[in-house]
Subunit: 506 residues, 2 copies
């Protein structure tokens, strides 16, 4: 490609948000793009001017001034527009493309989410990615609220890309009302969005597997949810020596707040502050707790309780009468019956960051301590009433698609997923492309997958492609065989080759 | 629930966009909500005032002034926040929830999309739902541009919810560059967004199945794509008497434009105008064509050609030398070899509404003529260069999830999809819930799906649930049997009942 004089650089007026030097160039895949003499900081760029420059330049760029007769119809297809915009070929910051190899991994992960959900009798649901902003705005100071991808749509509605799935679930449950037969056992795999500060490995979107049980007040529900996650871990090769669950109950905090006659209204706020305990200094936590109205003495007891790592120690502090202790004991007893005792441990410091949890909370963590929480969940018996609905007992968890992949990489057990196809079908002669199409149709009607070679290519190319796509058989359609109603079949793993009658091809 | 005095209505300050009379009420599912005396049109509402009203009212609303001793821990979970917001329980206008029954249908449809893509050897890919706005802004007057869900993110980037998948595909192909082995055969199933005027049956989001072939200049690629759609139709019970494909080539228009020495730059604009031919009056079309710069004579020939419905008639008008005729003939010849001749017909009026098509275009239509196009696609050999990439021959189609469902409904062949589960496991005694959990774990480890009853419920309730979820077996864990290491198993279709040893349960 000949070098292009910089005066021929074409600008697209709609791209003015992205105007950067070097950014617009007709050269493609060029490593050293010609430097553009403008700097957007130095010279204000008027999109209108650029647009007319583009229009003025386009005829010479296209090199075709209109053919004039029909023979020029062979001169190649027309250009779409009279300007070229060199776009940023990366997905927007914090988002991902899924080329085939990434998509295979995503599908593998989702398949396992679905398979576990099937084993536990959960039904799949989904909700809009775009929801009313109001659904996600709570006042407890959660991180999630400041990270909302929200905007006003063309109908002046405040909308947001969902940061989580649970509020949509609550909305749908209220909407369906009495028509639903309880308990509901629902799961969803949905993309969620948070406008986070980008740090290594943190993205602005992720997929989240949720399982929720609506209508069961007993702790059997939480036990069943954790059991599902354990089943999932086992399925993908993760053991109790790799990960564990920290379990707590927010009722512990609630009991402490009540013992100091602290208003119920502080509960969610206090939980959200405590959730930050491993992220910000302890003095900061104390300050925040006091600033929302907790007396010094209560802050002290609270922080003391948070360091407790055994149920018996907790019982000594709280006494044995409260719900918190009773439910936690029941959960640990059920864990034994489900067979996952070695996976769970009590940890009073776990409260989770979402405002709406009311009872048992839990999170999955890697025992090596290298990663963020793998998943998390809990009971949220009062969420529906905050939306104006009648409360129903409810619990659930969210399990993202990012940290688990990191863990599998750390352990070196990320599956190697290759494309798989049964046949590659190729005509040996351009005139036989129709015949090859007939063969492909026949095989596909029998349920066989077929990569049909759509151009005349040398055999060497065909073998290379067959290897790349992992084909099991190569079926060649050649003139001599085709006249006899036959094709040549080569098993690619063994090299075994034979001529087979078309109607005997399975 | 006692009636609530209107002075106790609580407002959520974040909801001020939605403030309507009647909208905020503590009553739930109430048909005649008490009238609220304010009108947002008459009295300006200050969210700050409302917030403090809410705070002032909250203690009496909660009815708990702080317990004072630990026994009050049994008084129920704390409220999340000090206000109730009655949300709109419907998904945002033009969007959908997928409760289990809708999700089953969506999964069934997607399964068939995937199965056909597998049979034809296509690999699955995906892209971000949120893309740079620049990717979708073309200047040919397409409807799609005015319908963009776009906004500025918190980092001041112009972004848009994708209205289609092809530009993202082009972006990814440019990004991957030489690392890709051509041809690519990629498919995607993705949600797309358009802010359309809401009419019956039209939504603002839909899922779209796309298949694209990158790197094949020959019309074998288009023939393969149409073959895939035919395979899909057959799979779901649709025949050639229900639907057909109208096929044309944009090179027909191109040849006409060239014969009148009309600038190449008008090509995309003319295509977009012609696409509206069945939606707006013909005089309007003529006026638009003239206004972009086509001479009267050219408009007349163009409109004459558009009414042509046979290839031979077209050949008479254009002569036999051009690419358009040659490619169309090849496509019809290949259709015969693939075995779908009866599905396709030539129709010069089909040009499709997207600016970037350059060659063969096609759309699937219902022969009853009741529905919009079912799917559509074509060749777009020049899209990559409009983004600053090197062009590659390319073609593809989009197939939405809405019209096909309408067609299946019209034909009365929408599948009836019911939940399916192998076992429902229930403890006959509250003390045996742990035992039931053990049974559930055992069965799930053997790959059996189990709905575990999580509460103590009467047997009548259990049978009703078993019927509702379509369980095959009911497994009861009772005291007498459990002591013997056995459970009671009932085959629900036959009523056959037996006691089975736990380790013999398959």
């Amino acid at each position: 490609m000949p070098p292009i004089p910089s005066s021929l650089h074409i600008f697209h007026p709609c791209l003015n948000h992205y105007l950067k030097p070097n950014f617009f160039s007709l050269s493609y895949f060029s490593i050293s793009a010609p430097k553009f003499p403008l700097s957007s900081q130095l010279i204000p760029i008027n999109p209108r001017t650029l647009s007319s420059v583009a229009n003025a330049l386009s005829p010479s760029e296209n090199g075709s001034g209109g053919g004039g007769d029909r023979s020029s119809a062979l001169a190649g297809p027309p250009v779409l527009e009279n300007s070229v915009q060199k776009i940023d070929v990366n997905p927007p910051k914090g988002t991902r493309d899924f080329p085939p190899e990434e998509m295979r991994l995503r599908n593998w992960l989702f398949h396992n989410f679905r398979e576990v959900s099937r084993l536990t009798g959960f039904e799949e649901v989904d909700y809009p990615v775009l929801e009313s902003e109001a659904l996600f705005i709570r006042k407890a100071g959660e991180e999630i609220r400041d990270q909302l991808y929200c905007f006003e749509d063309r109908g002046n509605r405040r909308v947001a890309l969902r940061p989580e799935l649970t509020p949509s679930l609550a909305r749908l449950v209220i909407q369906k009302g009495k028509s639903l037969s309880l308990p509901l056992k629902w799961f969803a795999i949905g993309q969620c969005w948070r406008y986070e500060r980008m740090t290594r490995g943190r993205r602005r979107e992720h997929y989240q597997w949720n399982m929720d049980i609506i209508g069961v007040p007993e702790v059997t529900a939480e036990a069943e949810l954790i059991s599902s996650i354990v089943t999932f871990f086992k399925k993908i090769g993760i053991s109790a020596s790799d990960v564990g669950f920290k379990v707590n109950s927010r009722k512990v905090l609630q009991e402490i707040l009540r013992s100091y006659s602290i208003s119920e209204n502080l509960f969610a706020k206090v939980c959200v502050i405590i959730d930050k305990i491993e992220k910000i200094p302890i003095d900061e936590i104390k300050k925040e707790l006091k600033s929302v109205g907790m007396p010094q003495e209560a802050v002290n007891e609270l922080l003391e309780v948070l360091s407790v790592k055994s149920l018996s120690e907790l019982e000594e502090i709280l006494g044995g009468a409260g719900e918190a202790i009773a439910e936690l004991k029941q959960l640990f007893s059920l864990a034994e019956k489900f067979g996952y005792s070695e996976w769970i441990q009590f940890d009073a410091s776990v409260v989770r960051g979402l405002a709406y949890y009311t009872g048992i909370v839990f999170e999955g963590f890697d025992r090596a301590g290298k990663l963020r929480a793998i998943c998390g969940g809990g009971r949220y018996d009062r969420l529906l009433s905050t939306f104006g609905g009648d409360d129903l007992p409810a619990c659930g968890f969210g399990f993202g698609d990012a940290v688990i992949i990191e863990l599998l990489k750390e352990k070196g057990i990320l599956p190697e997923l290759v494309p798989q196809i049964e046949n590659i079908v190729c005509a040996l002669d351009h005139d036989l492309q129709g015949a090859a199409a007939t063969v492909a149709t026949m095989l596909r009607e029998k349920g066989q997958s077929v990569d049909l070679v759509l151009e005349s290519k040398p055999l060497k190319w065909v073998f290379k492609r067959a290897a790349r796509i992992n084909a099991q058989r190569l079926i060649l359609v050649g003139n001599t065989e085709w006249k006899k109603g036959m094709v040549s079949v080569k098993i690619l793993s063994s090299g075994e080759q034979s001529e087979i009658k078309l109607d005997e091809l399975e």
